[in-house]
Amino acid sequence: MIEFVNFYLFPALAIGSIYALGAVGISMIFGILRFAHFAHGDLMTLGTYGVLAMAAIVPVNPLLLIPFGMALTIVSALLVDRYFYKPLRELPTIYTVISSFGIALVFRSIVQLVWGSQNQVFSTGVKPPLVLFDTFRISVLHLQAVISTAIIAVLLHYFLTVTRTGRSMRAVADDPELAEVSGLDTAKVIRWTWIIGAALAAIAGTFAALNTSAHPNLGWNLLMPMFAAAILGGIGKPMGAMAGGFIIGLAEELSSYHWIGDDALISPSYKTAVAFVLMIGLLIFRPQGLFKGRLL
């Protein structure tokens, strides 16, 4: 049982919070701009390297430098939207999807050109885990990730329900045509979608890199589970995406727990496939997600 908590549950929650933060952006972009943003993972990578670059100059806890990564991703996302996605907005969404595929490649090659392809770590040495009650060993970083995600969830919820911009965003995500005729400022809504999505991507990327190391494929490798999380939570439902992220994280990690007998339920080699299978299953049987998102 203790083993379960220490090696499966806590790490799963930490991975889940990374997925959750990434999935919020994907879900909102999908809901409001109506396309699957394939460059979101690489946007995460870009933010991570922004933080990493600052960390090389300013020797403080990398978590304090996340705003620099956020600034980098927000500016990049807004520029990319302005110059690459916006001209395609009137066309079938497929064009934007393919375009975002190319943008993913552009982000990745820029990271490799500027920072090289070698793995980079934020800090050396092993940080001893927090030991609670002599039995639970939790990595400090995991605790930070889960708590930050919880705080962000509260703030995001406040933003979406109380502020005018947040409410407009929800309205557009629910019904773009209706929102258009009721005179909402669509341009502003789109801007804020990118700002929030990009900012959270930078946070998620930094946590992922802190957990292991930064490398150019960091975000791309996380993309599919994040899509799965966004669909699970229901497209256009940021809070649903958060929950979806945690569910996917838990499902991936817990799938290889020895629930029955002594063997892992699913060989860890197939761990990656769990998110995919969940995602495909959802797409077929419950495409609106668990929280009644919009159907495209």
Binding site: N119, P129, S269
Partner: protein, 400 residues
């Protein structure tokens, strides 16, 4: 008009490269620059460049200069074949050093390099399949087959008095090759593998794998994976979780990055195996000194020795053959690499060309071993046992 100018500029650029001095001799270097092992490559490019630089500083190649031409396999079979075709046909190189991954090395050899009759020498392709290529004596490697390192590693672990281990290996040609041989050799020698897990690259968490590995009462965890990817993460997460304190690794894990990642203290009781040279051979030190003098750091990274040696051997073979005749070079490669002959070490190019001019036979003793090819172009070689020493690694024993 605009198109025409672009075309002219492109043509000029293409011309400028190929119209270089007539007495330049090219050497093709095939590496997996982008793709899954991109993070290994920068020091290896330095190693190859170092060999070429030393040649040019010490009298040049065939009376002219040596020029390294790179091809990027992109870590895929398609990219490997395409890059090799360009090296062989467009750049017209007489010999190819590379590539690193077995998958790209064999695809490039089969589809492009062997048909063109170009000799190829890989520094790190460890797949057993390399042994049985129908290569007309053209394909060589200076790293032992996985089978060999797996057996030695098993012996090393037994000699250390470790009777029960947990084993995890990365699911690619490198990890599976060594891992499976290790299992056979270790259990045959009386050891017990209490837990075993094959793992995927590029995951963030290996904690669930570790949890199942920790379930037996293993004395050490054998990790056959790269420090830059899953290997480093596994060691780190095992230490963080307090699951293992003693690790046994291979050359993929023996990387300064690992020490950077988890700190030297945590690796005090761990040891690593890696292809190396006989103890009295000063070659490795000579290379590392020259490397660090040229690039500041990085000589101790995985596969640097092998890459340098393969490049240097390729250059020696061209010089020995006396021309860019591909068949002659293939023969010459065996002569310069194998005994008998006057010993030549890394960086001793001037000595080598003097000997060749005198008509004497030479035998290159490299930093990674002495490269005695068998009839399949394979080497046996020496495997060293390394421990962490400060920020780097120290060789403590050699197993043949």
């Amino acid at each position: 008009m605009k198109k025409l100018t672009t075309f002219m500029a492109a043509a000029a650029l293409l011309g400028s490269g190929t119209a270089a001095l007539a007495d330049d001799t090219k050497i093709g270097i095939l590496m997996d620059i982008t793709g899954p092992i991109a993070n290994f490559i920068p020091p290896l490019q330095n190693a190859a460049d170092l060999a070429v630089k030393q040649v040019n500083e010490q009298g040049g190649l065939l009376g002219g200069s040596a020029v390294a031409v790179y091809g990027d396999t992109t870590g895929t079979a398609q990219g490997a074949v395409d890059a090799a075709q360009k090296l062989v046909n467009v750049e017209n190189v007489p010999i190819i050093m590379g590539s690193l991954m077995s998958g790209t090395t064999i695809a490039a050899a089969e589809a492009a390099i062997i048909p063109a009759g170009v000799p190829q020498i890989s520094p790190t392709a460890t797949s057993p399949a390399m042994t049985f290529l129908e290569d007309n004596g053209l394909v060589f490697r200076i790293v032992p087959s996985d089978n060999y390192q797996g057996e030695i590693l098993a012996k090393m672990v037994m000699d250390e008095g470790i009777k029960k281990v947990a084993l995890t290996y990365v699911n690619n040609d490198y990890g599976v090759g060594i891992g499976e041989t290790f299992i056979d050799a270790y259990t045959e020698a009386g050891g017990e593998i209490v837990a075993e897990a094959k793992h995927e690259e590029k995951k963030d968490s290996y904690r669930s794998e570790l949890a199942s590995l920790a379930k037996g009462d293993a004395e050490a965890l054998v990790v056959i994976a790269y420090a830059g990817d899953s290997g480093g993460k596994i060691v780190r997460q095992a230490i963080e979780g307090g699951l293992f304190t003693k690790f046994v690794g291979t050359d993929g894990l023996r990387d300064e990055l690992l020490i950077q990642n988890v700190g030297a203290d945590a690796l005090k009781t761990s040891f690593f195996s890696s292809p190396t040279s006989p103890a009295e051979n000063p070659a490795q030190k000579a290379l590392h000194d020259a490397f660090n003098a040229a690039y500041g750091e990085g000589a101790d990274k995985a596969f640097v020795d092998q890459t340098y040696d393969a490049t240097f051997l390729a250059l020696l073979a061209i010089e020995k053959a006396g021309s860019t005749d591909r068949a002659k070079i293939a023969e010459a490669l065996k002569e310069v690499a194998m005994a008998p002959g006057e010993k030549v070490g890394p960086g001793e190019w001037a000595k080598a060309i003097a000997l060749i001019k005198e008509g004497k036979d030479i035998d290159y003793e490299g930093a990674s071993g002495s490269a005695e090819f068998d009839e399949n172009g394979d080497v046996g070689g020496y495997i060293g046992k390394f421990v962490v020493d400060g920020d780097g690694y120290k060789q403590v024993e050699i197993v043949e």
